[in-house]
């Protein structure tokens, strides 16, 4: 009887051990929550390219698209956490509170929230890209290529991310051409091809010969192509939509980060992090430079790109003044991440007021 008990105890231990090993070795499953359709060829599309990279690295992935930033998000997150996903990427700013709330309920599931700043539980990380570095490059190109000295900028919503982009772009453009004027039109949409095209057309009709955008569709570069002016691609390489107009694009490259993080979950090395990567880490990628740009501009841009990557050049290097002439960043200093994250004032040289 005694022997039997010991034997069954040992065998159950063995069984438990095998089960644990099996559990550790089981496939890591990653889930992605998208704000838009994967077919937007912009923000969500690029996240989905990243997801495919995770898939290519040998992990199982699922995604839910078109999830509103409301109570629906919580429900989707809970369901994903319940159905055996080990890491969940929530790819829009508005998922910040739902992500933290659900993370509390599922301490064993890792959560990765894009563009947010709340990490209330140890299983929540945040990540974002320094897109403003890309806009420094676009500003340099725009300031050099413009003949009318009027540059158009189609903006989406007045949030720090967009203001930072406008400032970074304008500072770089002014550096190469002090006479430029940046005209800004707020479209109040991230994604409405018709409206974006109309906004771009208005800027072109008013003399802008280079158009930058902080909205997601390809309608603006196509409008630029039709009107014979220059433009830049947003989020993905938009060159094939407007081969003559597009001088270069700033691409969002999430793949390497996603693969890294999913691998960390698989190895058990995942820990909470706040990631803000730029050109240097390859999260922001500059597409091929168009051959219409003069050779010296192209080599200048290449050098700027390398300097931004190495940290030798910072997009916000003083002296920087705001519109009223108050000093924002002193000479020789650079703006710190706290200032960048909350940037809600225009720098000197940007026309108009920020809509309130």
């Amino acid at each position: 009887m005694h022997k039997f008990l010991i034997r069954s105890f040992v065998s159950s231990l063995v069984l438990l051990f095998t089960l644990t090993v099996a559990a550790v070795a089981k496939d890591v499953k990653a889930a992605f929550v998208y704000i838009g359709p994967t077919g937007d060829h912009g923000w969500t599309y690029q996240h989905d390219v990243g997801r495919k990279a995770v898939e290519a690295a040998g992990f199982k992935t699922t995604y839910v698209e078109g999830v509103p930033e409301s109570a629906d998000a919580e429900r989707v997150l809970r369901q994903l956490a319940n159905s055996g996903h080990d890491v969940i990427f929530t790819t829009s700013f508005g998922y910040m509170n739902p992500t933290n709330k659900v993370a509390k309920e599922f301490p064993n599931v890792k959560f990765e929230h894009a563009t947010g700043y709340k990490r209330e539980h140890s299983n929540v990380s945040t990540y974002a890209a320094r897109f403003y570095e890309g806009r420094t490059i676009l500003g340099t190109i725009a300031g050099t290529m413009t003949k009318s000295n009027v540059i158009g900028y189609v903006a989406s919503f007045p949030i720090p991310e967009v203001i930072r982009g406008i400032n970074s772009f304008t500072l770089a453009a002014q550096k190469v051409n002090p006479n430029i004027k940046t005209k800004i039109v707020w479209a109040f949409t991230w994604y409405d091809p018709g409206k974006e095209a109309e906004a771009a057309k208005a800027l072109i009709d008013q003399g802008a010969d280079v158009i930058a955008q902080h909205t997601d569709s390809t309608a603006i570069v196509q409008m630029a192509e039709k009107a014979g002016v220059y433009a830049f691609g947003q989020a993905s390489d938009m060159d094939k939509f407007a081969p003559k107009a597009v001088l270069t694009s700033v691409e969002n490259n999430w793949g390497p980060y996603y693969v890294d993080r999913v691998k960390a979950v698989a190895n058990g090395t995942w820990s909470q992090k706040d990631t803000w990567h730029g050109i240097g880490d390859g999260m922001v990628v500059i597409s091929d430079l168009d051959s219409q740009m003069p050779a010296d501009l192209r080599s200048k841009v290449k050098k700027l790109q390398a300097d931004l990557a190495s940290g030798k050049v910072h997009s916000f290097t003083g002296p920087i003044y705001d519109q009223k002439g108050n000093l924002m960043v002193a000479e020789g200093k650079t703006a710190d991440d706290g200032m960048l994250a909350g940037m809600m004032t225009y720098v000197k040289g940007v026309e108009g007021d920020i809509p309130k």
Binding site: T38, H41, K183, K201, D205, F241
Partner: protein, 310 residues
């Protein structure tokens, strides 16, 4: 300040270009509603037209096939609506809403393979005349064939309804299907035809968006224009000429507010963005003040099912 006439011409031309899909879809829906059928599926039929046009253009390479294919796709999807509401006598409102949801879903499904493909250039007429006369020539010349068709359509629709026998039959069916039926008119057949025509025009409006206005396919690219087209029909009190005016006001306010922003007019942007909607509401209120006129011009049997045996 000297006003550059060419600049004004360019603004008017952009306003007209943005009004094209609204005019097409509204004029189609107007005929449908004049026959007494309320089809709330305009947005769905439009997006089906948009994906069909774009897909056919990419696959066949022929713009003519694509344009007519988009219209045919609009006809096919509206056939579902016609069958449900006319043969199975379902509720117009519910069926129309279902049609919109169905259209948006199925277009996204078909569209998966067509994301990220640039569109083809659509031929432009009278391009050489574009810079001849200031103000006038940017408005008149250098547009696609669909553009010219859209601006002729309200007048043709008006003529059709007021001066032709078939137009009279359509109106009769919409105002009093019972009397029309007693006169030996096949009410169901007339309504079928009007629904399918509305589908064709919505399909064409969608194709204009995905092939000419912003030549690309992305999900939900109609962006609620089908709903605006529906509102325009009410706004116009079922008068095609007023549709033209309404579409110009609506398209115009959006574009003018962008111009005001670019010029640097210091008016809150949110107000400018809301302006088209505010003006639409004001005009609707002004129109509805005259309730007699509304009663006279609204098709009396609008949205009511017709049972022949009653």
């Amino acid at each position: 300040m000297i006003i550059d006439l060419n600049f004004v011409g360019l603004i008017i031309a952009s306003i007209m270009a943005s009004a094209v899909p609204l005019i097409l879809a509204s004029c189609g829906e107007l005929i449908t509603e004049r026959s007494g059928v309320l089809n709330l599926g305009v947005e769905g039929m439009m997006i089906i037209g948009a994906i069909s046009g774009f897909a056919l253009m990419t696959v066949t390479g022929s713009l003519i096939v694509a344009v007519f294919g988009a219209m045919l796709a609009g006809v096919l999807i509206s056939t579902i609506f016609a069958f449900l509401t006319q043969t199975l006598i379902t509720n117009h409102v519910a069926t129309g809403l279902a049609l919109t949801i169905f259209g948006i879903g199925i277009s996204a499904m078909i569209g998966k393979n067509f994301v990220g493909i640039p569109g083809k250039e659509f031929p432009i007429l009278f391009e050489s005349l574009k810079d001849t006369i200031p103000l006038i020539s940017p408005i008149l010349f250098g547009h696609s064939i669909v553009f010219y068709f859209a601006f002729a359509l309200p007048f043709m629709t008006n003529y059709f309804l007021k001066k032709t026998k078939i137009g009279l039959i359509v109106r009769a069916v919409g105002d009093s299907p019972e009397s029309a039926s007693n006169q030996g008119i096949n009410v169901r057949l007339v309504r079928y035809a009007c629904i399918l025509y509305g589908g064709a025009m919505s399909g064409l409006a969608g194709a204009y968006l995905s092939m000419i206005y912003t030549p690309q396919w992305i999900e939900n690219m109609t962006g609620g224009r089908g709903w605006i087209a529906l509102a325009l029909v009410v706004f116009s009190t079922w008068n095609p000429i007023k549709i033209l005016i309404g579409a110009m006001i609506f398209g115009g306010l959006t574009i003018i507010q962008f111009h005001m922003q670019a010029i640097g007019v210091r008016i809150p942007v949110q107000f400018l963005t809301a302006l088209p909607y505010i003006v639409t509401i004001i005009v609707l209120v002004v129109i509805s003040r005259d309730s007699r006129k509304i009663r006279l011009s609204t098709p009396s049997s609008l949205g009511k099912s017709f049972h022949k045996d009653n």
